[in-house]
Symmetry: C2
Subunit: 213 residues, 2 copies
DNA sequence: TGTACATCAGTGAACGCGCGTTCACTGATGTAC
DNA sequence: TGTACATCAGTGAACGCGCGTTCACTGATGTAC
């Protein structure tokens, strides 16, 4: 039952998409080859027509997830005017630290979904992850540059981008880890981190709300 | 070959200690019952004399790891004088965001080691984790209170404690995830987060190094 | 204190199960003429 | 354009393996007298 080359490529994409969702939701070890193929509407035997191994798919899924992530943050970094970027960034923070985003584990950002596991995976997965994170951080730093022109972010802006990303990812991870067992604490974590980031005015022009008057 | 009750209790402790280390290093799914028992110098058959299930040991290991963590942060929160706490906190941050701590995966803080996985584990594990995190956060907020007396931390100090913890855990997690594939980026993440936290002066009395003069 | 026996922590073989991977097979697609 | 055949994506059974868990057994410990 040979099928069209185009159809085969679509099938491969569906497997990668299913993996991108299910690996984030259940972890790399929490879903098997058979389950992934089934989620893509196929049987498990054909898996090795598309991928060298499960590791290979993990790397492909990692790339796919970062591709989505960089697309989102790319839109935040894109506006010409600094004020527009600041607005986009503020909206991004609020979305990132929302209950909706906390509970959408299958659509999560890769840093939170894969963070603890990626260093335990095979080398191609780690390479794909590192490459994705570099791209993501470069864009995030660009989103923080303060001028209206095309200037690259300063080292100071890059430093703050890294710290802000650590706070975002750390807070989402903490909030998610206690979401079921202590919803109140989970909420407190989200709102506290958000308040800190708003107060710290990552766009470089604002001031802390609690700063001495 | 029945053994002393005291010896049996010591054996149980050794299994929990091995699990606390190996679960952090390899993840809950990365080490099996047989491997854990072997690491404690026993054979796997006796496992169920001490624990109801692997889940049960996971919860016990989680408690153990938080017991260690709260002991460390408790020492930071303990000093009577605010300046002593500030010094202890600064030392804690530098230790937490060091290469040594990044590479010591088996001795890691539970937020980074278990963060992504804990919400996928059985309920007792999530309960143990949530209880541990509450205790840890309470102490961390106490470490940030600014007065010399016995005063509880203010809501503002608690908020900043949560945000600082998110930054610490997020940065360590990011740094660890790219440690092998991109050591330079890993280092940059550690130093950037540390600089941001030093600048933000979490003890409440300092000022940002980049604040307008 | 000494004796007799029940208890139970530890052992290692065995279980059923799900995993990643391999394989012979199918039959529509792609291609050579 | 039509025909003949090689290709190869997909199927489902089968593989070896490691996992969590169970079990009959051992023998020193703990206890009742």
């Amino acid at each position: 039952m040979r099928i069209t080359k185009q159809r085969a490529a679509e099938n491969r994409s569906r497997v990668v998409a299913a993996a991108a969702e299910l690996f984030r939701e259940k972890g790399f070890g929490g879903i098997g080859v058979a389950g992934l193929m089934h989620a893509a509407g196929l049987t498990h035997g054909g898996f090795y027509n598309h991928f060298k191994s499960k590791d290979d798919l993990e790397a492909a899924a990692c790339e796919e997830v970062f591709r989505q992530g960089t697309s989102v943050i790319g839109a935040v970094a894109a506006p010409e005017k600094a004020a527009d970027r600041a607005d986009a960034l503020a909206a991004y923070r609020r979305r990132y630290l929302s209950r909706r985003s906390r509970d959408a584990t299958g659509a999560s950002c890769p840093m939170v979904a894969f963070g603890a596991d990626v260093s335990r995976q095979a080398e191609p997965v780690r390479q794909a992850y590192a490459k994705g994170l570099r791209a993501y951080l470069d864009l995030f730093a660009r989103a923080l540059r303060s001028g209206d022109g095309d200037a690259q972010p300063t080292p100071e802006q890059r430093r703050r981008a890294i710290a802000a990303l650590a706070t975002l990812a750390g807070a989402l991870s903490l909030a998610r880890s206690v979401a079921k067992a202590d919803p109140h604490l989970s909420e407190e974590i989200l709102t506290s981190a958000l308040a800190e980031l708003e107060g710290a005015a990552p766009e470089g022009g604002g001031e802390r709300p609690t700063a001495p008057a």
